[in-house]
Symmetry: C2
Subunit: 302 residues, 2 copies
């Protein structure tokens, strides 16, 4: 089944102890779409400026990604610049230029409106809701990401949008900020009252945790000796997670667990090189091999 994603497609400048890139295609929807396209057909809704060339768009080519919803507007594309600390565990944002993204008003092409699986990447909550309104009927699964900025500046809009969300996919600090609870189990109970029935907490080098009414499932981060660039790791996780669920068409406990593993697999590949470079070269067989490696990493018999 196809998967609709709305979010940012951007240019990034990234510096880490492993190197520096001045301008590389990035944005949450980019990482998400590329990661998800290994499992399912992805319908992309985003906006870029006239500086986004055919060559830049090539990242979506040769994949199961429909870019009919990639709007082009006069002006420059969203630009983000950031620098990572020595051990990659801290990130300093140097520049955020919204550019054409400031006036983004996502319009779904008619053929995208039958979406049954929807991922609302990190954009303004009212825009996320406007996308949902354009979808015909009730989708099977709606997942959402957000960030501290929206939690602080548009809490009411976010609450309204969350009412229509099944799976909230955020990091641990966002979980604590949104719920006002430090303990993640208490936070989950709080968040369930807002609408989502499933909480996926991304914990960076510590992996990810899924909480729903059935219980908790934990998956570690794949141990890597030399991660190069954490940019897009969370979006790639979300892409692997939602891509797997849309691809298999199920969302029972076993499918959610597998989706968590595939999310972690995609997130782990994303950090191996700068920007989306590793994902560009990635092969499906490498994904399955690493998923089997996750079994070795976590499985035991009593």
């Amino acid at each position: 089944m196809s998967l609709l994603v709305v979010g940012s497609v951007a240019f990034d400048a990234i510096e880490s102890p492993y190197g520096k890139v001045e301008r590389i295609v990035g944005g949450a929807a980019t990482y998400f779409a590329v990661a998800a396209s290994f499992f399912t057909h992805v319908n992309l809704v985003a906006i870029v400026g006239d500086d986004f060339t055919e060559k830049d768009e090539a990242i979506f080519r040769g994949r199961k990604i429909d870019t009919l919803g990639l709007e082009r507007a006069p002006g420059k594309s969203f630009f983000w610049s950031g620098k990572y600390s020595e051990f990659l565990n801290e990130r300093l944002t140097l520049i955020t230029e919204l550019n054409v993204f400031a006036d983004f008003n996502p319009q779904l092409p008619e053929k995208f409106r039958n979406a049954r699986h929807v991922f609302l990447a990190n954009i303004a909550p009212d825009l996320q809701r406007s996308v949902l309104k354009q979808v015909k009927g009730t989708p099977k699964l709606v997942a959402l990401d957000t960030m501290n900025y929206w939690i602080e500046s548009t809490p009411a809009e976010l609450r309204e949008t969350l009412k229509h969300v099944d799976i909230l996919v955020i990091n641990d600090s966002e979980t604590r900020q949104l719920s006002n609870e430090h303990n993640l189990l208490c936070a989950a109970r709080h968040i369930f009252k807002m609408g989502p029935s499933t909480l996926v907490v991304k914990r960076g080098e510590y992996g990810a945790m899924l909480v729903d009414r059935r219980g908790v499932f934990c998956v570690p981060a794949f141990p890597l000796e030399e991660p190069h660039d954490p940019t897009g790791a969370g979006d790639s996780f979300a892409g692997g997670f939602m891509g797997y669920l849309a691809g298999c068409g199920r969302s029972n406990d076993a499918a959610l667990r597998r989706a968590m593993v595939y999310g972690s697999v995609l997130g782990s590949f994303a950090v191996e090189e700068f920007g989306p470079e590793r994902l560009r070269k990635l092969k499906l067989q490498e994904i399955h091999a690493r998923a089997r490696h996750f079994s070795k990493l976590t499985q035991f018999t009593l």
Copy 2:
């Protein structure tokens, strides 16, 4: 098979957001011995002052713990006082009074000298080595814990002791400090050159990770809504881990994985109440039930 442990038996004063105790039996060897005794016979070597009464010693009674090696010296027992932050993730040591522990010179009773499984809890590295020298022949498995103080103040002594150690059981900051490597896989490779062939990294609320030449195994921390007191969690983990290995008499990959799970199970119970109170009341069937819960927490099929 029996398991020899040498370490501290102490009195603790603990404050956390959940309450306060002025004086409770503690010490690494106490938590370790109680946790391990669910799986195997434990031979305890430690020192206490004449303030340590029959009533205090009752924590070891009715368990498979031999206290013949619990030396009594004139003076006061080791005393530690600490306070935890709001979310229990930071600990402030208020008082450390070594008392009789300052002159501890562990002597193994003759019947303890055939130990095949040895755990050297966090004491001076030269004392840890003196214990090993008293053991007849080469034990099957020697595990060691240490702390920042010994890594900084007696690095040469620690290096010498590590040559005789199979499994190093320390936390993540100690791992980084000892190896001078931030990445835990790089740290493990570094530590393998020092002697141990297995590294177990305790990561608190993020669980634990075992690294050996075969690869990596990760286990999460058991999600608890209301942990009360983290004191002794790491020692209880080590007790569950080594207790299981000594009890089953194997140390192959499957046994090590199970040991990691039982370590996490014991650590998770330890934090549920103040001091060793939860471990005192713990039943073997609760341990097995929580181990099965760890399966639900981590297992998936691809």
